[in-house]
Symmetry: C2
């Protein structure tokens, strides 16, 4: 199976690392031995039609001398790779843009036109054009997987699809952004004011220099849109989500809630077709009462009752979701792609 | 696909209900239309080689007039059904016996000898003879699934197998018994003494008249043995588990822990090959800090970090796990079993 990786941030680089480190295990467990024929950054690409050595790409990236790598082609773009190379699966891991979905959206559509399967960790294209992408994949008989887009390492979509067969999902509730959960946790347990907690989150690398995407609830709302479309068949857009951020919360309100056995959490939920991201009281005994940067997703089902998953919502752990998607495609296509 | 259901307690009866209620959905989603050719109780069986009407069996069981049902054969046993009938999958849902594994063990072994696939919700056979059963299934090329045996409705095994591909599981920690979690939760938040909390649990139907299987930690240890064998490849037996029950805990100890931000929980864990069920301090912000009758399983993985699932550990929700296993077998075998 030949793979193009577009984007060499945490996820793209982490995937190369995992493929290198787990080479023999992946072969033993699944006879899975992908060839990465292109690994593309914003300023160029590592190219090898016989398959790159992932370890050497990672170490040259870590060492900052990547332009010296023998496979490096300066200025070569992901779109060129997707248009011109011989490959089977695109891993789309470029940065999220929820206004245009680009460049991920064009990457995915172009790859689908060329009848390639897709694994994306990039939310942008799905938030902008979920239905269009699924339709394009269906038309071409391609697999489009996106486990990493919501909840990072937590396998929410494959869990519902493969482990809760026969269940109807009636509602979803979750904490979908680790930065805001970190801030609220600090405010709750250490009585730190909002501004200080935010500054800490930035210093620890959880929050961006411009944190509004997180603290205004946009990131959580994007993930909710994907959950609504993928799991509940609701054709929602970002503009359909009622969003309240966490900026106006005070330590006093948190303290008052706590005295009654409640926490204030930034909860994203889908209930009776309504999508909302807002501050809510959560019982301290509830599965949603999880602290730190953790993410949580609770699904209400008709057979299994309420079922909750908790895990790392961001960072290098997200590679787990991308790798699981990639192996899934391999297992589905192995007869055709055994090369 | 022809199914024999052995055992018509909560799970067996719940499965019949779900098959009846979800008939058209299961067909639409998976073209799955199983025929239940036998549904066996301890005193007889409902038999129909063309497939029973599940709804009529359930309503005659609920109405206590089941001996009048036209398909009822008094005295007919599960072993007879497994030996003599034409079927494809055995659903083994008889009561758990962790001393002999019987009658479930003989049911499963006999069915495997006849080259049938198996779904079991009965822990007993797996606790007694995990390796032997897996080996027997492998030899005959059969599928043996057991999602319902640990964590009730929580899909722990399929989750690890299908949603965390490529991950190595390095440790497991969980709350595997809802009764003890209920008792500890009542003691923690309502300061109810142990005896009273136990009595409440019995009155609510969570605990048996003889509650020692739960409160001494045996039930949790059995589940831990299955997790160790199935997920971590540790060939552990029940006698390998260090077990401490919850009977000696006092409200004072719970109160002291709580003042420092900790809860006392009955935790089952596998770490560095050691299996333990014991009382532990759990941070109130931790995913294990879940109250009521809920079950929790946290797996530590090399790629995805720590990942936790929380759900209904017992009761009718368990049917979800059995149904998922059954559909999985159908999807795997559909070409052969399309009848």
């Amino acid at each position: 199976m030949k793979v193009v990786i577009a984007g060499l941030g945490t996820v793209g680089r982490g995937l190369l690392k995992a493929l290198s480190k787990k080479k023999s295990e992946l072969w033993r467990a699944y006879e899975f031995s992908p060839k990465v024929v292109a690994a593309v950054k914003s300023d160029g690409a590592f190219l090898d039609e016989n398959g790159l050595d992932p370890a050497s790409v990672v170490s040259s990236l870590d060492g900052r001398g990547y332009e010296e790598h023998s496979a490096w082609v300066s200025g070569y773009t992901a779109l060129e790779a997707i248009r011109d190379l011989d490959f089977d699966v695109l891993v789309e891991a470029t940065p999220t843009n929820v206004e245009s979905g680009e460049p991920g959206l064009s990457h995915i559509l172009t790859a689908l036109e060329r009848e390639k399967d897709i694994v994306t960790s990039n939310k942008g294209p799905l938030v902008i054009a979920f239905e269009k992408l699924m339709e394009a994949a269906r038309e071409r008989g391609r697999i489009l997987r996106y486990e990493a887009t919501v909840g990072g390492a937590m396998p929410v979509f494959s869990l519902v699809e493969k482990c809760l067969r026969g269940n109807k999902i009636t509602a979803i509730k979750g904490i979908l952004n680790g930065t805001t959960n970190y801030i609220l946790t600090r405010m709750t347990y250490e009585r730190v004011p909002f501004d200080i907690a935010l500054k800490e989150a930035q210093e620890l690398g959880y929050a961006e220099a411009n944190p509004s995407f997180d603290i205004e609830g946009i990131d959580a709302a994007c993930k909710l849109v994907i959950l609504a479309n993928a799991i509940m068949g609701i054709r929602a857009k970002l503009s359909d989500v009622e969003i309240v951020g966490i900026t106006r919360i005070t330590p006093e309100a948190i303290e008052l809630a706590r005295e009654d056995g409640y926490l204030i959490k930034h909860v994203a939920q889908i209930e009776e077709g309504v999508l909302e991201v807002s501050l809510r009281l959560v019982d301290e005994k509830s599965p949603l009462a999880v602290g730190g940067t953790l993410n949580v997703v609770s699904v209400s089902t008709d057979l299994a009752g309420e079922f909750t998953v908790i895990g790392r919502g961001a960072g290098e752990e997200t590679v787990s979701a991308v790798l699981n998607d990639l192996i899934d495609i391999w297992l589905e296509r192995r007869r055709a792609l055994a090369r």
